[in-house]
Symmetry: C2
Subunit: 463 residues, 2 copies
């Protein structure tokens, strides 16, 4: 049998095999058509009656095939809107969120947190800065470099971080890295070499960060988390603690002032070290920016930042601001020569000192704030059972779901070609807090052109 479906409005030639039965043959053929893209996402399928007529087969066979594919997530059937091709299916059905995260193929929409809108990278401005940087750089800036990084960038960052984030430093304590992971790996090795065996972490965060510390030989127990944020009361004999004080990732709340003070007190009392991950400190919307914890005690707090959220992760540019006592060890642990490209460093220095960085952050803040407002409004309107939290800052929101629904929502999203993370993905395996059902929605991730579609796809999978 080889027929084209006039009713689909597309010239889709279909040859369902009869070998395993007509129902299975039709199911396979439809699935293939969706998978290959011949049936576009969102396409409305003909009614089972008219398709059966088109194909010259029993209506019941078509209805059964449709039902199979809806159950598998390839098609969606909503009252009043008929049967449609799912918003592009990327994964075979699977029972777990973890499997869905490993889904092969490329999702249509991504709301995975951790990436800014890459389409908004200021290419022209960056090139201008690169041109100016290259025009003025002494030729030995292109030589093997000081492992601490280019002096131009360290000076520019010291000034910027003092002004914008309340960091207390001079250029001599700034060390440039190829992003946060690079910095954390170095710090893990330095701490371990100093005899630290335990670096406490938060109940929620990123497993890749905890892994880096464990690779360095440090245990990473989780601190409790409550409505005031991470509780440093349990720090005990930890040698250091990794925190996101300005905007807990992924919960989205700032560390309570009492807790900030308590962390610094602990560090002073025990000689412990605080690793402050200020991953999105630039993006504040509804309230005064919360300054860096480092400002409370520059001798006990290592401040860590990157250009990954403010510009793009692909730049691979990050920085540490170190207590004086650590500069030498960290520099030695980074290596004998710099590992970060000099041209990118010079360009970022120029970008900062020319004011282009501030301009870009300001315009990004405006755009992301609009998205955040649209997200909050859409979720409130279409999924009143879902609570949008943690949105005073940053590039992601926490969507609190009805209890017991997280896994199925994440799975439904994956089926629909929408990549996002459930809160469970970010939960420390030994976290003692009661599990919450929530989504971590990176609303900064899509390009502008895909934002409306991503939001629509999100709303469709919300309970």
């Amino acid at each position: 049998m080889g027929r084209s479906w006039a009713t689909l409005g597309v010239d889709l030639h279909l040859e369902p095999s009869r070998a395993g039965g007509l129902r299975r043959g039709l199911t396979d053929a439809l699935r293939d058509a969706v998978r290959s893209g011949r049936l576009a996402p969102g396409t409305r399928l003909p009614s089972s009656r008219s398709l059966a007529a088109d194909l010259g087969i029993a209506r019941n066979t078509v209805a059964e095939a449709y039902a199979d594919l809806v159950a598998e997530g390839w098609l969606t059937a909503r009252q009043g809107s008929g049967t449609r091709v799912g918003d592009r299916v990327v994964a075979p059905p699977s029972g777990t969120a973890a499997a869905a995260r490993r889904a092969p193929g490329r999702p249509v929409h991504s709301l995975v947190p951790g990436t800014p809108d890459l389409a908004a990278f200021p290419r022209a401005e960056w090139l201008k800065a690169a041109r100016r940087a290259l025009a003025t750089a002494p030729f030995d800036a292109l030589d093997y470099g000081d492992p601490r990084g280019r002096p131009e960038l360290r000076a520019a960052l010291a000034g910027y971080l003092a002004r914008a984030r309340g960091v207390r430093t001079g250029p001599d304590r700034v060390v440039i890295t190829a992003g946060f992971s690079h910095a954390l790996g170095i710090l893990g090795r330095v701490l371990r070499a100093r005899g630290v065996r335990t670096v406490a972490v938060e109940s929620y965060g990123l497993d890749v960060h905890w892994s880096l510390l464990r690779d360095a030989g440090c245990a990473t127990p989780a601190l409790p988390y409550d409505e005031l944020g991470t509780d440093p009361g349990g720090l005990g004999d930890a040698g250091a603690v990794l925190l996101t004080p300005a905007h807990q990732f992924p919960m989205g709340t700032p560390l309570h002032p009492d807790r900030r003070a308590a962390v610094v007190d602990w560090a002073r009392r025990t000689g412990g070290l605080v690793l402050e991950d200020d991953y999105d400190g630039e993006f504040r919307y509804d309230r005064q920016p919360i300054g860096a914890l480092q400002g409370l005690d520059p001798d006990r707090v290592v401040y860590l930042g990157t250009a990954s959220k403010s510009l793009a992760p692909g730049l691979r540019l990050g920085w540490m601001v170190l207590p004086p006592a650590l500069v030498e060890e960290v520099t030695a642990a980074k290596g004998r020569i710099d590992t970060v490209g000099a041209l990118d460093q010079l360009t970022l220095a120029e970008f900062l000192t020319s004011g282009a960085y501030d301009r870009h952050v300001r315009s990004s803040r405006l755009r992301y704030r609009r998205r955040r407002d649209a997200l909050a409004a859409a979720v409130t309107a279409r999924a009143p059972g879902v609570q949008v939290t943690g949105i005073a800052a940053g590039l992601h929101a926490l969507l609190r779901l009805p209890p017991g629904t997280e896994q199925s929502v994440v799975q439904a999203a994956a089926w629909q070609g929408l990549a996002l993370h459930g809160l469970d993905y970010h939960r420390h395996p030994e976290a003692v807090a009661e599990p919450l059902d929530a989504l971590v929605v990176g609303y900064g991730t899509p390009p502008d052109s895909a934002w409306a579609g991503a939001l629509e796809a999100l709303c469709r999978v919300l309970p």
Copy 2:
């Protein structure tokens, strides 16, 4: 006493202290004037008679002060050319070449090998490539990247290395790194994790490379070196060997064809791995390029290259071409995400595919060849006891010195503000070969404007 020396032709106000005696006061004041740059390098000093008259002191005092400063290397006294300020002194006198290498201050001339002429970095061409790369890059090229590196660069390198260096590979076996040291550190860890305890190295090379392997937990015994190059006969039960087959660093000779074959035979027989450091394979002058050893057996040789000699070390761009069996392990050891900036990778890919890389290499080759010829001619003319070797390729030459003179020549050079390395600096501490007296002269290092001066400074210190 405060006087200006009219006879110097410069308005040099000098106030020698009389506290520790006039001779010492004058010596100190002259030394300070040289160190601070008020007395320029090469400046001819007045005769002791006229200076004594100018200053109103005894001629003998001036003559003694001059003699002190000549003995310390601040001044030079040559028959017929009077007393002159040394070619800028950078180090206090010291007894060892090692101390001279640690000399504080900035040398006037550098012939230290390992760096190309950074003033010749093709800034305009690089910016053009960056603009084209940024104009065409998909926005997700700016995302966290595949640890193997950008596909555009891996494809461009696979093509270039096959064409220019006889490397047998596809893009799937190319992994981008932040230079050679980054690559070697990764390989060391992978080899150690595979159970390799010994990576044999050459009798001459770079201690920083051996250190990286030792940091990974591998012993680095030295293979014998003779007129055919490094002798792989002693490889024994080593798990791998690090070689510079095309142009031994620093000896400057290619590995003899028999030895190339023997190395590959050893690798096949024992399952060992060859790490081929092709650090300056682009620069050939008098003979056909010697293809990469990797071409003999891509399953047993890891090919390593960088843009550090062909463009600039500051780019921090290098690459490995791996046997298929190693790709996964090496990628995992590099990390979960790429650590090398995406924009630089895209720019180098564009630089390669547009032909700008070939053009730059060709014009560089011409310039370096001219320098090499000038070096050989000058040394032959002015220091007939010195033999220039290893100059068929690369950016450095080996200058064979009369026995027993290396240390004093290196020391004299340091005093004169000329930075260079003696062969001893590159000798493996356990090398069995009889020590040779030689200089490793990086004639590619100075900018064009400083080349003649560096060559002149070199000739002056040769025996």
